[in-house]
């Protein structure tokens, strides 16, 4: 095969991938996740469809069963619309109450059954005022694991 033909084929493949990404990606990409309010507003549309919902973990709603490795919690973005989430899997390191999460799965009745749980961290960065203590705590916590 001539070098030039190889490059043409290679170029065509790359542009095909770009085109496919743009068409398929644009829809998925522009709305990476729905909000609880949107999902609750039209339950029929989302029933049994794999979707992502992004929201915050409601305070005092987390139930972690370490034996069964099952996690239940409620998510909300406005403290008015809540969706209970069930996730059978390991709790991510950064998962905590008040944390932003993106869950992927399906609405099963009133409950959202998630197959994937992603933590969405904020753009805010802070440090503990007592640096030394937090550092020691951190190293102790990773040794304990």
């Amino acid at each position: 095969m001539k070098t030039r033909t190889k490059f043409v084929i290679g170029g065509a493949v790359i542009f095909a991938v770009i085109a496919a990404l743009s068409v398929q990606g644009l829809q998925e990409m522009t709305v990476f996740f729905y909000t609880p309010a949107e999902v609750l507003a039209s339950p029929d549309e989302f029933e049994n469809k794999t979707i992502r919902i992004g929201a915050l973990v409601q305070k005092d709603s987390v139930e972690w069963d370490a034996q069964a490795i099952e996690l239940s919690f409620k998510i909300t973005e406005d403290s008015k619309n809540f969706i209970p989430v069930f996730y059978a899997g390991v709790k991510p390191d950064l998962f905590r109450e008040g944390q932003g999460v993106v869950v992927e799965g399906k609405m099963k009745g009133q409950r959202f059954v998630a197959g994937q749980l992603l933590v969405k961290h904020s753009e805010e960065y802070t440090v503990e005022t007592d640096h030394k203590k937090s550092k020691e705590d951190y190293y102790r916590s990773i040794q304990a694991q």
Partner: protein, 232 residues
């Protein structure tokens, strides 16, 4: 070009010492970030890398326009060198992002707007080099590459604004955060200053790679011309 050699040497030592100093600063001196802890330190590689990627492709954009306007070969050589370095930085950006994403988000990759548009930039410039390699006529190569380079760089503002325009898993900008009209990076000074220092050092490193690559490119073309003369 003795002075060019000297500049490259200064930039080389500047990057070596600078990167070393930043590494020591980040790992030995810096307090841990409250919510993420240790993994947040990859920010000092990820953020400077994206700034260098932006700059590299901005240089490609500028010199591609300059070439189409003035038709000076050296402008195309600068655009080419910068695109090569930019592509490496872009790969590094995707890699550091994936590692960081694994530890904080829980996944190496998602198809959200920020990540997808960044991958798009990488693919466009892979295509850019394929295009360059497939054209034998040097002037034609420069002309076509300049056009693709200009179009490809239009992805940069899209990448940058993606986190504001669309819902993404990637968080909005920390460094370029604006609150009521004024720039207000949302991180304490003890984390911010080393980040700025790392960014400056990474830009010095970019400049070093750019000039080194440009020098090689010039020599290569001179050699090619000489070879062509001998053969004729």
């Amino acid at each position: 070009m003795a002075s060019m050699k000297k500049i490259i040497l200064y930039l080389e030592w500047g990057s070596i010492l600078g990167l070393l100093a930043c590494g020591l600063w980040v790992f030995l001196k810096l307090p841990l970030e409250s919510s993420q802890g240790f993994p947040q330190k990859i920010m000092y590689l990820h953020v400077p890398t994206f700034l260098s990627t932006y700059l590299a492709f901005f240089v490609v954009f500028t010199f591609s326009i300059a070439y189409l306007w003035k038709r000076e070969l050296v402008f195309d050589q600068i655009a080419k060198a910068s695109a090569e370095v930019g592509l490496v930085f872009c790969a590094l950006l995707l890699a550091t992002g994936a590692i960081w994403g694994r530890t904080t988000w829980g996944t190496y990759w998602v198809w959200d707007a920020r990540l997808t548009t960044t991958l798009l930039l990488f693919l466009i410039f892979m295509g850019y080099f394929l295009l360059r390699m497939s054209v034998n006529d040097r002037d034609k190569e420069a002309r076509l590459a300049s056009v693709l380079g200009i179009i490809g760089c239009l992805d940069i503002p899209i990448i940058h604004k993606s986190v504001q325009w669309w819902r993404t898993l990637h968080q909005p900008s920390t460094l370029f955060k604006v609150e009521s009209g004024a720039a207000k990076p949302s991180m304490p000074p003890e984390l911010l200053y080393p980040l700025i220092a790392s960014a400056v050092v990474m830009l010095v490193f970019y400049l070093y790679l750019l000039l080194l690559r440009l020098q090689t490119e010039k020599r290569r073309e001179t050699l090619n011309q000489l070879l062509a003369e001998i053969q004729n």
